[in-house]
Amino acid sequence: MSDRKLTMSEALREAMSIALDERPEVFILGEDIGIYGGAFGVTGDLYHRYGKERIRDTPISELGIVGTAVGAGLSGMRPIVEIQFSDFTAQAMDQIVNQAAKIHFMVGGGLHVPLVLRTASGSGTGAAAQHSQSLEGWFANVPGLKVVIPSSPYEAKGLLLSAIDDPNPVIFLEHKLLYKVAGSEDVPEGAYRIPLGVSRVVREGKDLTVVATGIMVTRVLAAAAELDKEGINITLIDPRTISPLDMEPVYASLAKTGRLMVVQEAPEHGGFINEVIARVVTGPSLGHLIAPVTRLAGMNVPIPYAPQLEKAAVPQVEDIIKQAREVVVNWR
């Protein structure tokens, strides 16, 4: 096969195009997803290929958009919602949290809501506090929602196709710094699916197990390449879906490394990484630990504007290198 190094935007668009071809009940709705092609260009030319009924531009109306998708989902359609920035999901929280997440359970299983909510997440673009958050922890705390965070174009395509297949509401958080970056792996042209709820071992190393998602997978990989030169070898595990959360590869890895580091961009307080730590220290891996668990997260601060402030607020490659080196060197 020839090289197919796609960006995450291109990979996501391919997944949606496949789903639109496979299932007549799939349609996309959101703000500026039509002729504009999406705030981050993800829907691109889909409007021209599938028409305005299926690639449905909406007014600026997040609660209405998500609520409409919930109603459409529980009456036969399979909507994909695009919310331009994950921060704007706050406008739609009733429909996400009180409706979509709970309907199947509340009504005793008679109704279900197949719904994918794709949204751009994370900092690094100078968009400041209301356009840069990493809100995965909010959603993971709501029973009934699945939460997916792709870390590469290959992953994004396979995970999005599974999310669209899923009969439950899925929050799909795409890091905006990954949209325009070509992945290192080829992205197959046709359909392939990566199951939700299965963690991926991204690389293996003997000294330290690192758990990270999304953009932090990229940064940990860069850090690991540097640490390899020092003889410090990292295992990197990407859960891919933080709800449901597959911990088995983490436990298996800790049996070999004995050291755990967790990394996230979201603020530390109440973050998803703390769940990983909790499961490790209350679970089968406690006896394997030979070093204190260490965590690296965003500061408990709104994302600031100035580039040096923005960088300082969330983990960078050099922060990961420093903290990983410390835990390995100090706990030989």
Binding site: L63, T68, V70, S75, Q99, V107
Partner: protein
């Protein structure tokens, strides 16, 4: 016998009955926290309704939802809702499904006066109007959002005037006159099904009972409640049909007996159900992914 909360719609019967008379089985509704009337009028099984109120496995929600979450897919009831205004965008979405899948059905969005001050109403009304969706918005104005009177909560004579801002025709009617409710709904349903878009109907009515169990009726007088009881929609309907010679007093007494027997039978049957079992608590958090 019943441990949880519920919101009674006694005094408001004309709206659910008149509206649902204008619907087919395939037409859908979204309901509210005050949804027992909508549920029965759309054709629900009273045994499963009562079983749900009692927290039984054979209840509509297997005891997971209670009064505020009863849904009945077979009769097109997409569910009551514990969030004021929460069902309105969902109705619009179901209407979008109807339009996209060319079902030829209509969706009724029931809500109260209180919901009209929620953003959900405004966003949903706008989307329904710009896409000309087959949905009818039914505001059951019972005078109070919990304790807030419409006088306190609106600077409007007719809440149906809110339709104007969205390009939606709005009509205010006596919500205790079942014939008027039926005729207005029938016209709005016809309009929706012919692709002309949504209508907003405001039915002015009154709830006899408090908002919920904890209500001490501090915000309204006994005289006001008694006055509205003289406007009982059921009595009103009975007068009309007897006056016109359509039914006799004896026919009406017979209907009362039948209805009472049906309710008693439903309660007795529902009580035989098994209590909801905590062992199955996690079963319906997610729908199982089929292989």
């Amino acid at each position: 016998m019943m441990h949880g909360t519920m919101h009674l719609s006694i005094g408001q019967e004309a709206s659910p009955v008149g509206v649902c008379m204008a619907l087919n089985l395939e037409d859908q509704i979204t309901s509210t926290h005050r949804g027992h009337g909508h549920c029965i009028a759309k054709g629900a099984d009273p045994v499963r309704m009562v079983a749900e109120l009692l927290g039984k496995e054979n209840g509509y929600c297997g005891g997971r939802g209670g009064s505020m979450h009863i849904a009945d897919v077979e009769t097109g009831n997409l569910g009551a809702n514990g969030i004021v205004g929460g069902g309105i965008p969902i109705a619009v979405g179901a209407a979008l499904s109807s339009q996209l899948m060319k079902k030829g059905t209509v969706v009724i969005s029931f809500f109260g006066d209180g919901a009209m001050n929620e953003g959900a109403f405004h966003e949903a009304a706008n989307l329904a109007s710009i896409w000309k969706l087959p949905v009818v918005f039914i505001c059951e104005n019972n005078g109070y959002g919990m304790s807030s009177s419409t006088e306190l909560a609106f600077n409007l004579e007719k809440l149906s005037d809110r339709g104007l801002g969205y390009g939606i025709p709005g009509i205010t009617l006596d919500g205790n006159d079942v014939s008027a409710v039926y005729e207005a709904t029938e016209a709005a349903v016809k309009r929706a099904k012919s692709g002309e878009g949504p209508t907003l109907l405001e039915f002015v009515t009154y709830r006899w009972k408090g908002h919920s169990r904890s209500d001490k009726n501090l915000y309204r007088t006994k005289e006001e409640i008694d006055e509205w009881k003289t406007k009982d929609p059921i009595l009103h309907f009975e007068h009309v049909v007897v006056e016109r010679g359509l039914l006799t007093e004896a026919d009406i007494a017979q209907q009362h007996r039948l209805a009472t027997e049906q309710v008693i039978a439903a309660v007795n049957e529902a009580m035989k159900g098994k209590p909801a079992d905590p062992a199955g608590l996690l079963d319906a958090v997610f729908k199982k992914v089929s292989a």
